[in-house]
């Protein structure tokens, strides 16, 4: 078995994801990729990877690993998430890289604020590119590790099995999770298939994310969105963020693994800047929508990208003196055996 990260427990749904499989939607292949792309990009930057490098996406509950490679550098990205070391009581917070040596056992723990987080490893995961992407699409067994979510006993192979000792990196001002923020939408493409009260309800009522939520989409509970005529349209193509409304009138917000086409009317589409915020919410959370124009949505996409670029540029080396939290080198030198605080 190739050394890397040995999966002790897989978490509820841990998959390999990058920025997605573009260019094959006309053949029915979903884009897949990270639900929260800014967090994936930041996780990669923290360990010095190109931002599109494949990492582990962790949903709902975190996995537990043993390091079986000589030394690895990892970072967790995700609001409130942390990396809990079996030997140390104090968790390593998100947005900070850390080097771990062979034999170290750690768990990724999700916080209250976000239901998804990313674990990036320096050098990336050694998985094949399938149709230009390492992203896992479970339904067709594409990409990732054996085309499926991680299981106990899996070995996650790594490109770099001996991460060099160097100063770690951290993100000084982590982005807010956006837990209470209204989610911006653009009406359409089939909003004209709905009566006025349904259009009004979408942007005034509070919806709740049902237990029926996964990487394909989340069913929302709230007022019934009444169709004007029928709910069976001629199938057309779907964009990520589409809010489709089947006959029940209960909307489904479609995420990265959504089918490329479908036959339900789509009342609105969540703007790209707010998709990561949606992805962080958990079943039971409230969700409200606010309408913007396409032009406003495009401007918000540019703003979000500028904010992310600023965050990527703001990564700093952790000061070696006093604040050194290179656990691996500390363990290597037998200087400590337990608690390491990372309270910057």
């Amino acid at each position: 078995m190739k050394p890397g990260l040995s999966v002790i427990s897989p978490g509820l749904h841990t998959t390999v994801q990058d920025l997605g499989r573009l260019g094959y939607q006309a053949l029915g292949v979903p884009v897949s990729g990270a639900l929260d792309t800014p967090s994936l990009r930041l996780a990669n930057a923290l360990v010095g990877n190109p931002v599109n490098t494949a990492a582990l996406e962790i949903l709902f509950t975190g996995p537990r690993f043993e390091v079986t490679a000589p030394a690895v550098r990892v970072a967790v990205a995700g609001a409130g998430a942390s990396l809990v070391l079996a030997r140390a009581g104090q968790p390593v917070p998100a947005w900070l890289s850390v080097r771990l040596v062979c034999g170290e056992v750690f768990e990724v723990r999700l916080g209250r604020e976000a239901v998804c987080a990313y674990l990036a490893v320096e050098g990336g995961l050694d998985v094949p590119q399938v149709l230009g992407s390492a992203s896992t699409y479970v339904r067709a067994g594409l990409g990732g590790l054996y085309g499926r979510a991680l299981r106990a006993g899996d070995a996650v192979p790594l490109v770099i099995e001996r991460a060099p000792e160097r100063r770690e990196r951290r993100l000084p001002s982590p982005p807010p999770a956006g837990a209470r923020q209204p989610i911006r939408i653009v009406f359409g493409p089939q909003h004209d298939g709905f009566a006025e009260p349904a259009l009004r309800a979408l942007v005034t009522a509070e919806f709740r994310i049902s237990a029926n939520a996964d990487r394909m989409g989340m069913r929302l509970e709230g007022p019934r969105l009444q169709h004007r005529a029928g709910w069976d349209i001629v199938s057309d193509a779907i964009a990520t963020g589409a809010i489709q409304v089947p006959g029940s009138g209960q909307p489904i917000l479609l995420l990265a693994d959504h089918q490329t086409t479908g036959g339900y009317p789509k009342i609105a589409t969540v703007i790209s800047a707010d998709l990561p915020i949606v992805a962080r919410r958990r079943p039971g959370d409230a969700i409200c929508f606010a309408a913007v124009t396409v032009e406003e949505a495009e401007a918000l996409a540019r703003e979000a990208e500028h904010r992310l670029a600023a965050a990527l540029a703001s990564l700093e080396s952790v000061p070696a003196a006093g604040g050194d939290i290179d656990l691996a080198s500390l363990y290597d030198r037998n200087l400590i055996s337990g608690v390491v605080a990372a309270d910057h």
């Binding site: 260019g23 939607q25 053949l27 653009v186 359409g188 493409p189 001629v234 193509a237 495009e298």
Partner: protein, 240 residues
């Protein structure tokens, strides 16, 4: 032709060219798709042709809906001719026994004999309207009127890969095991989607398809060759 531009958030622009499922509308969609792929406007990520519309996925950091609409409006021509030489695929299908779990029910519902259902299904040339639902899943039309049925009232949780199905005015082939609500009247030994192949999907929108009945022993022979990675067509398919 009435053209409608529909908003699909800040990353998509749908160009709707008609209301109905028919070959003329489909050909107009595919013609626009080809023109757009050839023109390659800045910021277009990919395009997805469907029955009556084309979804243009775009990068809002590289272009805008306004710019795209202008670029796309310039691509319409008066050319109504069909595309030159659509690929014609002859897809072997076993319509027997366990390979055709709903054949008897379809015969009952349509008032035909099972053999007449097979003859009708394999007696026409289909147009691939679009791929969707699953990687490589083709929507084929139009089904002979005598076979038109609504979807099953009770969808199956597991439809086997290779199942040839019918519902409404369409036929389809399931590339992967999946849930499904269509009537299963046969099975093909071909692999509809293989990520190691380029392109990975056997069929593409705009192709033509004829189903050719085979018996169980021919099915087994072709499946063995497919599993071994051989070209099941022996170089004879597709023909222009």
């Amino acid at each position: 032709m009435k053209v409608r531009f529909l908003s699909v958030g800040d990353t998509g622009l749908a160009v709707e060219l008609g209301d109905a499922v028919d070959r003329e509308t489909s050909r107009a969609v595919l013609r626009l798709d080809r023109a757009l792929r050839a023109a390659r406007p800045v910021g277009v990520v990919e395009t997805v042709p469907t029955f009556r519309s084309l979804l243009v996925h775009y990068d809002p950091l590289a272009t805008s809906r306004g710019e795209l609409e202008t670029a796309i409006a310039g691509l319409f021509t008066d050319d109504r001719s069909p595309p030159p030489n659509p690929r014609l695929w002859r897809i072997p299908v076993c319509y027997e026994g366990e390979f055709a779990p709903d054949l008897d029910a379809v015969a009952r519902l349509t008032g035909l004999a099972p053999g007449e259902v097979v003859a009708a299904h394999s007696g026409v040339c289909y147009h691939v309207y679009m791929l969707g639902f699953l990687p490589g899943f083709p929507y084929l039309g139009d089904l002979p009127q005598a076979l038109a049925l609504p979807r099953r009232a009770d969808p199956r949780l597991r439809v086997p890969a290779g199942s040839v199905a019918i519902a409404t005015t369409l036929s389809a082939i399931y590339p992967f095991e999946s849930p499904g609500g269509w009537h299963l009247i046969g099975t093909t030994p071909l692999r509809l989607f293989d990520p190691a192949r380029n392109p990975p999907a056997l069929l593409a929108a705009g192709d033509a398809v004829i189903f050719e009945p085979i018996d169980a022993s021919a099915f087994a022979a072709i499946r063995t060759r497919v599993a071994a990675g051989a070209d099941p067509f022996g170089g004879g398919n597709p023909s222009p």
